[in-house]
C-alpha cells in the first residue's frame, strides 16, 4: 500500500471526507472499494435503529412514583418512632409529676370528690405501691387539642358514667397523631387518677 493510500484510509476511517479522498478514490480502485465498504457497513448499522417504546414515559413515571413511595415509609417510620417516644416520655413524666404533687394532699384529704360514685370507688380500690399503676379510678379526663376529638368521644367517659367504666386496670388509650399539638393536658386531671397510659399511633 502506498503511503498516500494509508493516509487516505485513515481519513476514511475517521470519517473526515474531503476532496483529497474523492480525487484519490477516482484513480485508486482499492481505496474506492474500501470507502464503499466502510460506508456500506455504516449504513447497514444505521438502518437497524430502533425507537423507544410508545409507553416509555408512562412506564418511567410509574417507576419514579414507585421508587418515591418505597422511600417514604422508611423515613416516616423513623419519624413516627421518635415522635411516639417523645409523647410517651412526656406522658410518663407528667404523670410522675402529678403523683409527686398529690402525695401530701392524699394523706390529709378530708373531702370526697364531688360525685357519690367517685367516693364509693375511692374507698373500693387502694392505691398500690407502684408509682405508675394506681388501682383507684375516679375521674380521668383526657383533653385533645387537635382533630381527634371525634375519636375520643367514642372512648368510655368513666368520669360521667361509672357503670360503664372499664376494668380498674384497663389502660386509657390516648390517640396520637404526628404533628399534633400536646394531646394529654395534665392540668385538667385534677383529682383524677390514671390506671395507666397507653400511646397508640394512628
Amino acid at each position: 500500500m502506498r503511503q498516500t493510500c494509508k493516509q487516505i484510509r485513515t481519513q476514511i476511517d475517521e470519517g473526515c471526507y474531503n476532496t483529497a479522498i474523492e480525487t484519490h478514490c477516482s484513480s485508486c480502485i482499492e481505496c474506492a472499494s474500501y470507502l464503499r465498504q466502510i460506508e456500506g457497513v455504516k449504513q447497514l448499522i444505521a438502518s437497524c435503529r430502533v425507537a423507544a417504546p410508545a409507553d416509555f414515559n408512562a412506564r418511567l413515571r410509574r417507576q419514579i412514583a414507585a421508587r418515591k413511595a418505597e422511600k417514604l415509609p422508611l423515613t416516616w417510620n423513623w419519624k413516627l418512632a421518635i415522635a411516639s417516644l417523645i409523647v410517651l416520655l412526656l406522658s410518663i413524666s407528667s404523670h410522675k409529676y402529678w403523683l409527686e404533687q398529690r402525695q401530701p394532699s392524699t394523706k390529709n384529704q378530708t373531702t370526697a370528690p364531688s360525685s357519690t360514685w367517685a367516693a364509693e370507688t375511692q374507698t373500693k380500690y387502694a392505691e398500690t405501691k407502684t408509682q405508675y399503676e394506681l388501682k383507684e379510678i375516679t375521674t380521668p379526663i383526657v383533653t385533645v387539642t387537635t382533630g381527634l376529638e371525634d375519636h375520643l368521644k367514642q372512648l368510655p367517659r368513666r368520669s360521667r358514667k361509672p357503670q360503664q367504666a372499664l376494668d380498674k386496670n384497663a389502660p386509657i388509650i390516648i390517640p396520637v397523631v404526628i404533628g399534633a399539638q400536646p394531646i394529654l393536658d395534665t392540668s385538667t386531671l385534677g383529682e383524677s387518677e390514671l390506671s395507666s397510659v397507653t400511646v397508640v399511633i394512628f
Partner: protein, 207 residues
Amino acid sequence: MCSLSYSIELAPATAELPEQLTDHELVEAVGKGDETAFEILVNRYKGQIVNFIYQMLQDYDRAAELAQETFLKVYISARKYRAEHSFSTYIYRIASNLAISELRYRRRRRWISLLNPFGNSEEEKPLDVPDKAPLQDEELIDDERRRAVSRAIKSLPEKYRLTLVLRDVEGLSYDEIARITGLSEGTVKSRINRARNLLREKLQQYI
C-alpha cells in the same frame, strides 16, 4: 392506620419551560424538582439511549428496561449533577455501564449454563428484534439483513462493540467516546476500525 399516598405528575412541556433550554439547564431544573424539565430531557434522549442499549444487547425489551433505569438514575442524582462535560457524555456513560454490566451478567450465566447442560443456553435464544406487522417481500429482505447485522454486532467483542455503536450508530465524536469509555482517543479509533473491519467481513454479502 397511617396511610400515606404519593403521586407524581410528569406534565407535558409547557411554554413556561421551553424546549430550547440546554441540557444542563434542564438537569438543574430537575434537581430542583421540576418534572416538566425531566419530561423534556427524557423526550430528548430516550430514542438514542434505547437504540444504543439495543445495539449493545440486541435485546429490545431489556434495552427498554435498562434505558428506563438510566433515566431513573439521572432523575435520582440530578441534584448532585455537576456539569463537567456534556450531559450527553454523562447519560451515555450511565447507559454504557448498565449495558456492559448486563453483557457481563449474561456471559456469567452462559458459563453457568455450559456447566449445566440441561439448562437453557443464551446462544439458543433467538435474536430479539422489535415486533413488526406481517412482512412483505421487500420487508422480508430488510428483516433478513437486519438480523444479519444484529448477529454480526452481537459477535463483536464487547470492547469493540461499545466504541463502534457509539461512533457509527450514535454518531458521537471520538473525543466524546473517549470520555464515556475512559479510553484514549487513539485506542478508541483503533477499536472502531477493528470493529468495522470485522463487520465488513461478516456482512460482505449485504454491502
